[in-house]
Symmetry: C3
Subunit: 647 residues, 3 copies
């Protein structure tokens, strides 16, 4: 129907090339032909002497103004008219004359049957990206994929994209959803006029149809191929050489590609990350890589605000509270604005069994889930872990024989560099900070740290930055800290970084010293027979509650302070509150004493069935939860177990 | 003024029917008449040879372009002009000729006095609902009621409705509120041009006036009558026969009507409901009935988002925190967007003295308040309860001799079916779930449950759904859970319901088992001399705080588990925290031992004046609050009192 | 370039005054001249017979439609054309004839070189405030300062203001930020067409340039001078005569001026105030003075919603949580809407060391900070205190030899009267309420109270209002309470004030009585040897937690009740929780016993290093924080110290 040819519209017989309208002389004779003007036709398309269908628009003293389409109105003088016409009445008229914008009409002298022949004006096919203000008021024809369908208080708005760009196509249907048969991800052909409305170019739809079969396939494939090509990430050399990183490389590349594809096709991206320095670094790095892409290449030109979110998770996993909130907003956006369900990227979280329920729930609603994490994902079989049930892509060093020391910040920056090499260039110092923040040891972390040092960050400065981010994160709670975190990380104005660090560091240091002093003063130390020093501190009683630093970090600080007195060896520190305990031990306690926190937790849970013991972490660091009434028992048992360890 | 007649505008003498402009020959002779063109007049309305008032719009080499109204501009050639004119100057001109859009002007040859005669173009009266894109650019006249007045950064926007629909009428007044004399709920006549702006049809006001007296009354009555007719709810047969339901029927019908009226007249509807399964069911049922109506019949075509809210109340009553928030938003909407104060529907809450302060406060601000509840409303006199002071409609089984067993979910669904029978059809299984959730017994609940069973829900499935909603509600906190709750209830996609239930149920069950195990393990049991088994559990010590299920539900679970060991008899369970206790007893304790929690609370409050004892509930279930320092005394006294009960 | 003269555009030689286009005959002969039409030129500006540069817009059977600028299109008939032209092709044409809107073109008969002469249409310079709907479609030229630059999904929007007003100027640059060289606070000249878009008048930019040097200076100075003049506050007589107030007067005046300037130049104003009655009064008074100004004089006509915020701070200082939130929103507004960083006014807070970190952080981001407070600002040297490091203006009675008794509410109202005398008139009763609320004594407070009494408020009524605000503030949490607070203060409808007070007062009184009864019942009283009565109450144990009134207020109530039994003398009350204590003493304890809370805190901190003791306040009122484990020790030591005081 949208194809142009030189055949008679009625009988299909061949026509001379220029015949307009395309009806052969035979047919013209045989039928009483009345033309229906294309809604996009102009005065120049009207052929005097022919009959046209019209609709009375206004009645005036002088005569009837009759619309042949929304843009072409002619005058049928009262003295010429056959009888009276009412506004809205449909009539057949003969075009007498066309002079400029003026169309003189005559009545159709007959009342007999006629054959209505719709004329389709030939409109050139446009690539969406080429439509500019120069085309304002012009008719265009486009073919593309529907990215989103939004019912507004006025028209239904179809956002259509092809491989060159996207445009909103507005269709009116008096209070109804227009073109109910056309939905997101359909391939369509739109004919319409370029208009400027609200604050952007749109196509006002005159005709839209869904394409099928070969035609549909061809359009979709062309767009897909081109978008795939555009989505292809760069393959930068990783910042450091590391076999685990190498093994993870293809998955990271695929993740980068899926992120780029999401941007190009208008799919929202949500980043949910752990609320510590490593998590912020990973999340912010990917954010900074994606945003410039969104600004230039999303079908939604305000994608940065509509289709992107990065949020810290307060718990050390993607918890129910988070997903409830994420779903609430995604479903509202879907219902209200026609936005697709998001691609959710869980960062520095997401690998453990605790993340699973939230991710499962997202999955029910069609969100795609990807994970970049360096926490232990439970048993790995054939390179797959528990959460691979729902995670489409799962990047985790444990899946490739690595461990915690390849932090999320490292992975995030490497992925960011694939997503957007330009943005990636400014980030090479971030993995080093992440490694320092997470206190990981090893060759690869050291290499990352060295890169940061080469970029002018001393190890001490990195520690300061990491602590500043922890301090900010503590106060940000559910906010993303956009702006401030970037500045702290040196991704913004560098003068501001220096000033900010100075101010925040002063506060953070003062706050931690207050906590540390109170804690150390009240620390109980017990030399165990096996040579271990067991330090315990009642955090509820001897630290300020709801103040920075929180329990886990405070315990870590106390532990570091005590352990350093013993050369960083044979020290275990337990900070406890009413229903939890945080445990830190020096590395040798794991290595030589074979302490394993996870084993301890399992034993306690079994031995004290009423205590509701849960928890875990690394071998020598983690936390335990229990019901308040069993605190004494849990702690006593724990101490006994530690006393029984042998080097 | 808006009436047309055939009388001279100056002297009132009769005129021939067609005389235009309507000035008699006598007057034309007597006065030097200068016409003022109607702002809506076009070129076709200008009569050559007459004098018109105009304003110099542009000065050009060729002459002065003079606007006779915003749309009609004529040319006074310099060679014809008498002297110079400055832009903005007001002048009197004579129309020499009108050819198409071209108006040739001549100067007025005199400087004398003249009589300015404003011409009002006759414009047909339109019903608002009939104005469509076909009228773009046309002049219309409408009469209706002002639904809302909004000052924007540009024009003042008056939303005007009649019985057929609503439209925004925009009026400009350079930085001021236009037509300050016209306000919400006034009856007005608007003359203006149909334009397409932002993304919708509007009337650009050329003239608006408030109607008075008989005219006003006639318009208002016609609209009112028609809206009343449209607001009339259906009178569906209730899903079950029940005398209490029958007695409540008229009030429910009136409530349904008021909800429909609110939608039709652009009044916001807020639903505030209890955050448990019964409350969610009641709230969601009414929401689902209202939304389709809003989409088609509200003066605000995005009413669903602007004029509707459903929110759970975390407390088991409409509390101060809630009303503070609701007022904040309502008052801002009123000030910023001219939105009327809402109709607030309190559901599964609202009947008790605790609800009163919040509702009173709303009332001060003109919000209308209606209540659908099944909690004991205090003493009922002449079918009226305490909160009827502020509740315009109060539906509660206790007001009709019924009790708690006719749950809010049942009432809500029955009302939803009156509001919107079509939406109501899919909800007949909901009351059953509500009855199971609230564990109510009796014939009517059983009938509702049977309906759900007929629709394929086993009793077990209903329990599961109820628990899933409790679990969601716990995590939703202040969010409404739109989307997910509907899916859980089987009002959305059924495949999604199944998947969701599976995921959430697994989590909910695991969570409750953790709580239950810890609680049971630490339960203290005391066989009292009177045959009662008194179980007590320190919830703070022996359950996980801030975890699902919360205190009340945990106590209930423990109680059910213990009571079932004794055939559901002679069991009292008290779960307590630092400053509260939850009490559950088997039914026979109320019946045979005549235990009444409310009496116990009253006694404790009297005996321990410093303990700040408050609380209450049903006879055999409820909660007690006290100050932490008296916990031991309160619990001991309570145990003593229970021990003294006699069967 | 924007200057008009009568010189040849090419050689500069003098021309006859009317020569158009401005090229001398010599040049016309010497060069083959092709004109480039100004984008704002109309048909009337085209001179037949001249050559113009154009661009093929559409190709039609009849010929080529060629645009000479976006608004002027002529027809080059195919029969006249030399060869074929493609859409978009740039061509040189000769204008044959201009008849009305119709421009007939002929081809340029040569292919040789030519000189392109851009024609700049003379457009009159407009003051922004004079542009109205009458100018719709007209070309205007304006000069002003850029207030804000916003990238939208369509054009880049430059808000430009001069001394008469502001207007949005929209510039298109296909996906890019238009005029990247022009930024906020630049002086520009804009030439464009007045259009109506979204819902307001805008200038569609045809040409915009940054002004430099003398021109720039002249424009800026004129605007600055005029805005300065407009920003000049009134100099009302203070409501009461007081030497401290007199000394503070110039600073307050400057503050009022800076607030007015911020409004006039589109700088957001954030008010952060203490969440008690005094703080609310001060904040609301200034808000009520600013808002009317914003409605009429801000470059953003919805400034009230976009550029203003008033928020209570829950802590008694501007804390980290607050600034984190304020920064998050300010930075987002800056990035998303181009809004400048705000002027932050900290009220009834802001003077102490605890406020400093938050304010420092704001400062890094360029926010201006001003403080109105009456809390002790630490040591004052040369009239300057610690926070003057960051506070641009700091109004505090202590800086002028005054004290706490000149409350923030008094200062706020006096400033509000300078900002907006009209709004100020209705506020003269507010300082009295603030004085009563803060229980300050002295001549000046008494005078303020007398003014309120003259306006019909009894002292008792003022106490009631103060308590109602405290009650509201407790429930408002992070909300501003706009609407309700004004009504309580009698700034809204007075009937509503009465109703509201009745409802809230009933609730507040009931709540405080519950707390008070429980507290008094459990109060421990110890007669010390030195004649002091020491009352202590465990607030956690003997009051309802999370209920109104909170700890500090409850302690105060208890103290007042007990002290009144002893004639308001020799009484000290300590209300304590797990990790804090609130202390109140009768005035004579400070005067005669020389008790100073700040000294006590310092001693405790030193004597109990592990206890983390911090806190302070006035001499006889304030709070102490400590770690929970040291509560007993802290309280015992405190009691000992009190026992050792001697009269």
């Amino acid at each position: 129907m949208t194809q142009q040819g030189n055949r008679c519209l009625l009988c299909g017989s061949a026509l001379a090339r220029d015949t307009e309208p395309r009806v052969c002389q035979e047919c013209e004779k045989r039928h009483q032909i009345v033309f229906e003007l294309d809604p996009l036709a102009g005065h120049e398309d009207i052929i005097p002497g022919k009959l046209y269908a019209g609709r009375v628009k206004r009645v005036h003293d002088i005569g009837y103004f009759i619309a042949l389409n929304p843009g072409v109105v002619g005058l049928l003088r009262k003295r010429d008219a056959r009888g009276e016409h009412a506004p809205g009445e449909e009539v057949v008229v003969k075009v007498a004359r066309v002079r400029g914008d003026r169309v003189d009409l005559l009545p159709w002298e007959s009342d007999g049957d006629y054959t209505l022949v719709p004329l389709r004006k030939h409109i050139p096919l446009w690539k969406i990206g080429r439509i500019s203000v120069n085309e304002l008021g012009s008719a265009v024809r486009i073919r593309g994929i529907v990215a989103k369908v939004q019912r507004t208080s006025g028209p239904t708005v179809f956002t259509v994209y092809d491989e060159t760009g996207a445009i909103e196509c507005t269709a009116f249907a008096s209070g109804e959803r227009a073109y109910p048969g056309i939905d997101r991800s359909d391939v369509v052909e739109v004919r319409g006029e370029v208009v400027f409305r609200l604050d952007r170019l749109q196509v006002e739809v005159r005709h839209m149809e869904k394409l099928y079969g070969a035609e549909q396939r061809a359009v979709r494939e062309e767009i897909d191929r081109e978008i795939d090509r555009k989505a292809e990430p760069l393959r930068p050399e990783p910042l450091v050489r590391d076999p685990v990183l190498e093994a993870l490389y293809p998955g990271m590349l695929e993740l980068a590609k899926q992120l780029r594809r999401a941007v190009l096709t208008g799919v929202p991206v949500f980043i949910r990350h752990h609320a510590d320095a490593d998590g912020f670094i990973a999340g912010v790095a990917i954010e900074r890589a994606l945003l410039p892409l969104m600004r230039t290449s999303s079908p939604d030109r305000e994608a940065e605000w509509h289709l992107f979110k990065r949020l810290p998770s307060r718990a050390p996993f993607y918890e129910m509270e988070d997903v409830v909130r994420d779903l609430q907003y995604s479903l509202e956006d879907a219902e209200r604005f026609g936005t697709p369900m998001p691609l959710v990227l869980v960062v520095d979280n997401g690998s453990t069994a605790e993340d699973l329920p939230a991710m499962r729930k997202l999955r029910v609603y069609g969100a795609r889930i990807m994970v970049v994490d360096h926490h232990y994902p439970g048993e790995v079989r054939d390179g797959r872990a528990l959460v691979d049930e729902v995670a489409e892509i799962h990047v985790n060093p444990y899946l490739a024989g690595g461990d915690y020391s390849l932090t999320a910040g490292c992975l995030g920056v490497e992925i960011a560099r694939m997503v957007n090499p330009e943005a990636g260039e400014r980030m090479s110092h971030l993995p080093g900070i992440a490694c320092v923040a997470d206190r990981v040891k090893g060759e690869t972390p050291e290499r990352y740290i060295r890169i940061a040092e080469e970029r002018g960050y001393t190890r001490e400065r990195m520690e300061v930055i990491a602590e500043c981010i922890d301090y900010e994160a503590f106060h940000l709670r559910f906010m993303d800290g956009r702006g401030v975190i970037e500045d702290l990380l040196g991704l913004g104005r560098l003068d501001r970084q220096a000033e900010l660090i100075e101010i925040i560091w002063e506060e953070a240091r003062r706050a931690r010293e207050v906590q540390l002093r109170a804690a150390l003063e009240n620390l109980r130390r017990a030399e165990l027979a096996n040579g271990l020093l067991l330090c315990t501190i009642d955090l509820e009683k001897y630290t300020h509650r709801f103040s920075y630093p929180p329990a886990g970090k405070t315990t870590g600080m106390v532990h570091d302070a005590v352990a350093s007195e013993r050369g960083g060896e044979r020290t275990v520190t337990i900070g406890y509150g009413p229903d939890f305990a945080v445990l830190r031990a020096t590395e040798d306690v794991g290595r030589r004493y074979r302490m394993n926190l996870n084993t301890l937790v399992a034993e306690l849970a079994e031995e004290l069935p009423g205590a509701g013991v849960t928890g875990g972490g690394h071998e020598v660091a983690g936390s335990i939860k229990f019901v308040e009434g069993y605190r004494r028992q849990v702690l006593e048992r724990l101490a006994e177990k530690l006393a029984r360890l042998e080097a």
